[in-house]
Subunit: 225 residues, 2 copies
């Protein structure tokens, strides 16, 4: 029994996604050692049973160590497994995905984190290309019926800014009136009293934020966008 | 490194769900050995890296060995982990859920498989109660916008039978006309030429089946039921 368990390599990886100029991007790091030395990879590593409370805790530890980012939203994506995905042996990777506003990545100031467009990925280590594609599919699917895209928007945002985020993820233009009605129905946003965007040529727009009690749970949109 | 990996116990468990008289039930087996000897548990066990192609393959092996059932639909639910869920050590369970028509469980004829109502679970081993609750939540959520409930219906079914399955999972009555329209929109069913239900006092009803090409993939309902 002990012999069989030795053969399973147990890791956690994180797909950290952000929007930069309406393009969906994933955070990558160049691996410092074999296997796949110098090839880009998702932030990840071995589970540490001595200190990790669970795989979610391990994912947060990887992000803190390797990207210095505490994501506002982190969800388990899926577990990838098999004998061929990691040359070190039969392996499991429990994968999480996280969404962060673009400026959070900038502020973390980790020079070795690079952002790659999910539609134009470089060569990736292990089965990380398949993992990124699965995460993007999940995010795009959930964008149609949940508050998930809000976690890409930062602390405060206008409704037009939020609509542009939904449109970027869904890949289609949305009707402004029905978008606003759905946001009201979801009852997840609150206007920030007295705060308006500096709007250049436009009329200043009200700033909103996610209601504090909803910051770590998704709100679903009845019947989708 | 080897030392850390030894400490992770890697298992797979399956939540096998069926509908019996409109009640959602889960398949349980009494454990034959410690830990939790003689306590009900989900079908599951250790990953066998020597022979399992991946965790899905391991899940199908557990079901075949312990319940003699090949489920028409099997999906990864989530991975549960931590130091406290299994007394043998820091553990991971990659959990799948499967849907089978009630008569399939009867035909498999495994005397030691018992069915428990998900709303009235007996004492369960490990964290299997939390796992069952997560699976039920996923199934009920997905029933609102997918073909998932069809896998509980058997090879051939009438539209009224299918509607009763959706209603049992969603816990609410559905409008017959709009239910039929949604089923047509999903374009996943085909009428079985010349086959009608024996209907007692009722007019015989057309029998339908899932289109063969859709048997192992979900169809989504645009904007939900």
């Amino acid at each position: 029994m002990q012999k069989m368990m030795q053969q399973v390599v147990c890791t956690v990886d994180v797909v950290l996604l952000t929007l930069q100029d309406s393009a969906l991007k994933v955070a990558l790091l160049k691996r410092g050692r074999a296997p796949f030395k110098d090839v880009q990879a998702l932030p990840g590593g071995y589970i540490h049973p001595d200190t990790d409370a669970d795989t979610r805790d391990a994912a947060l530890r990887m992000l803190a160590q390797k990207t210095a980012i505490q994501p506002p939203y982190l969800e388990q994506l899926a577990t990838f497994s098999g004998p061929a995905r990691d040359p070190r042996g039969w392996s499991i990777s429990v994968v999480y995905y996280a969404l962060v506003p673009f400026d959070v990545i900038g502020q973390a100031g980790q020079a070795d984190v690079t952002l790659a467009s999910v539609d134009k990925l470089p060569r990736l280590s292990f089965d990380h290309r398949a993992i990124v594609n699965t995460a993007v599919q999940r995010l795009r699917g959930k964008s149609q019926y949940s508050s998930l895209p809000c976690y890409l928007a930062g602390e405060a945002f206008t409704l037009p800014q939020l609509q542009r985020i939904y449109e970027a993820l869904m890949g289609e233009a949305l009707n402004k009136v029905s978008f606003r009605r759905k946001m009201v129905e979801m009852d997840m946003l609150e206007a920030i009293a007295g705060e308006f965007s500096a709007a250049g040529a436009h009329r200043p727009a009200q700033l909103y934020r996610l209601k504090p009690e909803l910051r770590d749970q998704l709100t679903l949109i009845a019947r989708g966008l």
